[in-house]
């Protein structure tokens, strides 16, 4: 986007680029562990690593607020909930070879690879047009938008969360004697 000469490794910009490359590696490793690990608890650890890396991406995308929300909500809440579910509902993992279905072999890999190839082609071939910025996207502006333009959606999302909490308690309680 900006036609500056590429930085050398031992400069401030070069170190930023190095941190970015390391972050890509860490996030990808976490994602691959999360998608392919045999034991569920390892997949959970992988997704914790992956979400922390995604928070780093949000820092690079000019949004430290979303990075903190990512760590708070995903790593702090969702992953802990999943770990509780693993402890409650998957006590022994037999790792037995149950009959594999049609999708779980190379066909599943081919489907994922096709989706990735198609989206990568789309990202590379399209001529993305940037528009002029009319705001800075600070936390103050996010708060103003949440309470004026998007106040209806904000209220709806809190009702959805409330219903989800009550509903999950009801579902998980049912059938208990």
């Amino acid at each position: 986007m900006t036609p500056v000469p590429p930085p050398t490794l031992f400069s401030a910009d070069g170190m930023v680029g190095l941190v970015f490359l390391i972050m890509i590696g860490v996030t990808l490793t976490g994602g691959i562990i999360a998608a392919t690990a045999e034991r569920l608890i390892r997949a959970l650890s992988g997704i914790v690593i992956c979400f922390t890396g995604v928070a780093g991406f949000y820092y690079f995308l000019n949004s430290p607020f979303m990075a903190m929300m990512q760590i708070l909500i995903y790593v702090g809440a969702i992953c802990v909930t999943i770990s509780f579910a693993i402890m409650l509902a998957a006590p022994e993992e037999k790792l037995k070879k149950s009959p594999t279905n049609l999708l779980s072999g190379p066909i599943g890999f081919m489907i994922a690879a096709l989706i990735f190839a198609a989206m990568t082609m789309l990202a590379l071939k399209t001529d993305w047009q940037a528009s002029a910025k009319i705001a800075s996207g600070s936390v103050r502006e996010i708060g103003i938008h949440l309470l004026t333009t998007y106040s209806m959606v904000f209220e709806l999302i809190s009702i959805v969360l409330l219903i989800a909490i009550i509903g999950s308690i009801v579902i998980a309680r049912g059938g208990r004697n």
Binding site: V54, N62, I78, I115, A130, I142
Partner: protein, 108 residues
Amino acid sequence: MALLSIHQYLTTYLVFGAMLFSLGVYGLVTRKTLIGMLIAAELMLAGVSINFMSFNRFLAPDPSVGQIFTLFIMAIAAAEAAIGLSIVVAVYRQFKTVDAEELVNLKG
């Protein structure tokens, strides 16, 4: 060292979001347990959020709109995880397993 300046381009983030999304698709179709599928679905949501945030950073005129949308995605993901995991616990109580291949009640 052109590789050190790739964080300034939109395409990097788009390709990376696509990578996370397709990893999630792969996990979703290969996993055998319900909790594993849920973890893969969270991976797909992370890829989608990265796409939104990168368009928000590079293309959108008002950069707070994409952040608000990503915040809503996070709230929906939290609600989905809560409901999904309580369903997993209820299914485990009924069937004593969370293997998706064995959850068959109507099969003869």
